[in-house]
């Protein structure tokens, strides 16, 4: 039942993931392809409605709607044998430029260095909702394998026809086709000379099975690694154009402020372009220093309003929760059995509350955009996980048809779910229109901390009941504001009530790596630990007793073995675990902490993760993602929190907001469970969700102190 059970749990919609408008419709005209790409072969993959609905990130809005078929990816092999694959996905550091190239190389039998990937260019690549939700591997990787396989089959058929022979006796390898019987060979380029072949992949396009992969499944090194270690790669903030100006925007003193009046004469006098348009006030100058000087010379009056602080946050979230609007069991609300009855007859009952604070993504490259107008045609280079989404925002902001807007996304300096929007693109375009020159806007770190968006804060109430033998009989779970991703329990509990409560957030909030799953797993896995303690059972034994899912059991057992669960501990030492199922992957995380009895300092000493995401596409890159999830996850678990008051961020600088550094690094051990019999899924998010509860449970194990708020120890463990 293992694989099946996981697939049966629907992809849970994420409240703060985008809900985009109808997908762009792309007309398939073969002449267009060849005018644009040159002769050769083009293979197109068409998105099925089922995948399209999932890709929207909010499947429920689309339920029952017949979606048009969409192009998802295409691949071109030119007369010169050059292979180019086109996808709307983008590279933000997850190394999909390499893993997708591996997919093409595997099926097409072309060396990986001869494959180019064109990504995230709204003019050249097919529409894509965005790069988020760990969807690239389960969808795009599969689609590119299919188009590459279809191209290989077309080439084999073409050679068979040319040689008047049986296609099944031909072999494809190293960009050429050979006939072992006659020793004839022909390379792909020669075969495609003067040809114009178009093909759409068949729904049942057969693929090489994972057990026989030669390029996929290997730790292939990064395809363009050299450009990154030499500083040659141009990130969005590095792009330049002749005659370009540097833009800067005057920021309000607080959120929700309104511009009343502004004196801009001093700024205009020094020869910069000043644009005032509603609440927008910005400048464009020949260099960034002049832009800063001009902004400082503007005197503006803003109308501000009182707003809450993070000290009042927990109360605010509870009091301002809306009634759940969606009683269909679709993520906002799920009920089975009778929770109230089961609670009243339980041997053990437990009621606890967990909280999480707003945190910032802090992508090391802040938002950046370079905009250029040619008449009413707008081109923008910008760092975003949603180039097509940014194109829509630009079209809307400037009242343009989308065809007049081109957004290009150079591989950027990370996002973690924090760059779904196009703020700098709009700002740069507005200034460029006024200045009649290209304009670049790069946010400062303080702007990124303040004017981007945050991972939602939340309050989670859990009530549970269990029998003396450790069987959980009742589970009630309420999440206020933080989101519904990962809200459902994977433990087998007969009576459940799970409700998400929407709140009008006091801060601008949005997607974040692993979304709300981090908060929901923190609450669930902490509560499991507390409940195990209540029924006097070992936390691992207690979990396994209530868990049928074989894949999840397997990661818990593998991590426990590697960790050495059950070993004795010394004073100050503590062991704990957390784990779960998210974005189709399975994770178990075991942590060892050391708590200094005098200072209260909590040090995470060792973290063991066991992860299973189907057939592994690139083992080393997968390890890199899991290690990175744990290191980044340390921040949200231990010390990251946004402090705010009256519409102002109080710690919006890197000197005030602590992120994990080298000295925070625990020993990291990763166990990969490679299931070649199960389709590959993504890994950028799931591995993060087990860490915070594992640490909290380990701190309890070390000290007897139960921590129920993230971050756990922003100032060390205070003695009670």
């Amino acid at each position: 039942m293992s694989a099946k059970t996981n697939c049966e749990i629907p992809l849970e919609p994420e409240r703060y993931e985008l809900r985009a408008a109808a997908p762009y419709r792309f007309d398939l005209d073969r002449r267009d392809f060849f005018n644009f790409l040159g002769a050769g072969i083009v293979v197109v993959s068409v998105l099925t409605p089922a995948i399209a609905a999932q890709e929207s990130g909010g499947g429920r809005q689309r339920r029952g709607e017949g979606l048009p078929q969409e192009i998802e990816a295409w691949l071109h092999i030119g007369e010169d044998g050059k292979v180019t694959a086109y996808t709307g996905k983008v590279e933000v550091g997850q190394n999909i430029r390499t893993s997708l190239s591996q997919a093409v190389s595997e099926e097409l039998h072309v060396p990986i260095e001869r494959i180019e990937l064109v990504m995230g260019d709204t003019q050249l690549t097919p529409f894509d909702m965005g790069t988020f939700g760990s969807r690239t591997t389960p969808t795009m990787n599969l689609q590119l394998r299919k188009v590459a396989a279809a191209a290989r089959e077309a080439l084999l058929a073409s050679a068979a026809e040319q040689w008047q022979t049986d296609r099944h006796q031909l072999r494809a390898a190293e960009s050429r086709i050979s006939d072992p019987k006659t020793n004839r060979t022909i390379d792909y380029a020669a075969l495609l000379k003067g040809q114009q072949i178009t093909k759409t992949i068949a729904a049942d396009q057969p693929l090489i099975i994972a057990a026989q992969w030669k390029v996929a499944g290997q730790s292939v090194s990064r395809v363009d690694g050299r450009d990154f270690v030499t500083g040659r790669h141009r990130y969005p903030s590095d792009h330049k154009l002749p005659g370009m100006l540097y833009g800067k925007v005057l920021r309000p003193p607080a959120f929700n402020a309104t511009l009343v009046s502004a004196e801009t004469e001093n700024a205009e006098r020094v020869g910069v372009t000043v644009v005032q348009d509603g609440n927008f006030l910005g400048v464009a100058a020949p260099n960034s220093k002049a832009a800063e000087t001009a902004i400082a010379a503007i005197h503006a009056d803003w109308k501000v309003q009182p707003q809450i602080s993070n000290k009042e946050l927990v109360d605010y979230l509870r009091k301002n929760a809306a009634e759940s609007k969606d009683p269909t069991g679709d993520g906002d609300r799920f009920e089975t059995g009778s929770v109230d009855q089961a609670l009243s007859s339980a041997d053990h009952k437990l009621q606890t509350t967990y909280t999480v604070q707003y945190i910032a993504h802090v992508p090391l490259e802040p938002r950046a955009a370079l905009a250029k107008w040619d008449g009413d045609q707008l081109t923008v280079w910008t760092g975003t996980q949603r180039p097509f989404g940014v194109r829509s925002q630009l079209a809307e902001a400037f009242h343009l048809p989308e065809e007049h807007v081109r957004v290009l996304m150079p591989d950027m300096g990370s996002g973690y779910g924090g760059k779904h929007t196009g703020e700098t693109a709009i700002e740069a375009a507005r200034l460029a229109r006024a200045a009649k020159r290209p304009v670049k806007v790069v946010w400062t770190r303080q702007e990124e901390f303040t004017w981007a968006y945050f991972r939602p804060a939340g309050v989670i109430d859990v009530v549970s009941g269990a029998r003396n033998d450790g069987t959980i009989t009742a589970w009630e779970f309420h999440n206020y504001n933080s989101g519904s991703a990962g809200i459902r329990s994977y433990y087998d509990i007969a009576n459940q009530r799970i409700i998400f409560h929407e709140v009008d957030s006091p801060l601008r909030q949005g997607s974040y790596r692993a979304l709300a799953a981090t908060a929901n797993h923190f609450a669930r896995e902490s509560h499991m630990d507390e409940l195990a303690h209540g029924v006097k059972m070992d936390p691992l034994e207690f979990r396994l007793k209530n868990l049928k899912n074989e894949r999840l059991r397997a990661v818990f057992e593998a991590a426990a073995k590697q960790f050495g669960w059950g070993k004795s501990k010394s004073a100050g030492q503590g062991f704990g675990m957390g784990g779960g199922y998210e974005k189709l992957g399975n994770i178990a995380t075991f942590a060892e902490v050391n708590v200094d009895g005098k200072s209260g300092e909590v040090k995470v000493v060792r973290v063991v993760s066991a992860f299973e995401c189907g057939a592994v596409v690139n083992p080393d890159n997968l390890r890199n993602q899991i290690e990175g999830s744990n290191v980044q996850g340390l921040g949200g678990a231990l010390f990251e929190a946004i402090e705010f008051e009256n519409g102002k961020i109080l710690n919006g600088r890197l000197s005030q907001y602590r992120v994990p550094r080298f000295s925070d690094l625990p020993v990291l051990e990763t166990v990969l469970l490679d299931r070649k019999d199960i389709p590959s899924v993504g890994a950028g998010e799931c591995p993060m969700v087990g860490l915070a509860p594992a640490i909290a449970n380990a701190v309890f194990n070390a000290t007897g102190t139960r921590l129920r708020a993230l971050p756990l120890v922003p100032n060390g463990l205070k003695k009670s």
Partner: protein, 163 residues
């Protein structure tokens, strides 16, 4: 405004700017040496790290007026001909990056570390590199890359080459 002369990667440059302009902005805007990155603007993340007379310096909080007549090395200056610096090669070999936006600064810091300590312990690496932030969390790989580079450089240093 003044004409400022800078020596960067063994080349001479003249820039018309204020002596109090920060080095990072001059590198990126005036000289198009964009390998050094802006990350925080207050010397907290290390993405802008360059070497000034062989020592690490946060170029975002360094005025150009303070580095006149000094040898400035940026990430662009490490490659010799076609050959990567051993630290660059080690970062590739250990896949010590994800988005790689921090990589230039990490490599420059690591080069400086290995110049003053040819075989640093893990603890010494952690202490020296603690001012460089990698948000993707590739720290364990960066440590391994520095250890690998140290080993690769060891014979060269002993023979007095590669300095």
């Amino acid at each position: 405004m003044a004409t400022i002369r800078l020596t960067i990667n063994d080349k001479s440059y003249s820039v018309d700017t204020d002596p109090d302009s920060n080095l990072l902005t001059v590198l990126r805007e005036d000289l198009d040496l964009t390998g050094s990155k802006y990350g925080c603007g207050e010397g907290q993340c290390g993405a802008c790290t360059v070497l000034v007379d062989g020592k690490t310096q946060r170029s975002c909080i360094t005025s150009v007026g303070s580095v006149l007549g000094k040898q400035i090395t940026t990430i662009e200056g490490l490659v010799k001909g076609d050959r990567l610096h051993p630290v660059q090669q080690a970062f590739l070999d250990e896949a010590a990056m994800q988005c790689a936006y921090c990589t230039s600064g990490m490599i420059m810091s690591a080069v400086a570390l290995l110049q003053q300590n040819t075989m640093p312990s893990e603890k010494e690496i952690v202490n020296f590199m603690d001012g460089n932030v990698c948000r993707c969390g590739t720290y364990p790989r960066i440590i391994r890359a520095i250890q690998r580079a140290a080993k690769a450089q060891a014979p060269a240093v002993a023979q007095g080459v590669g300095r």
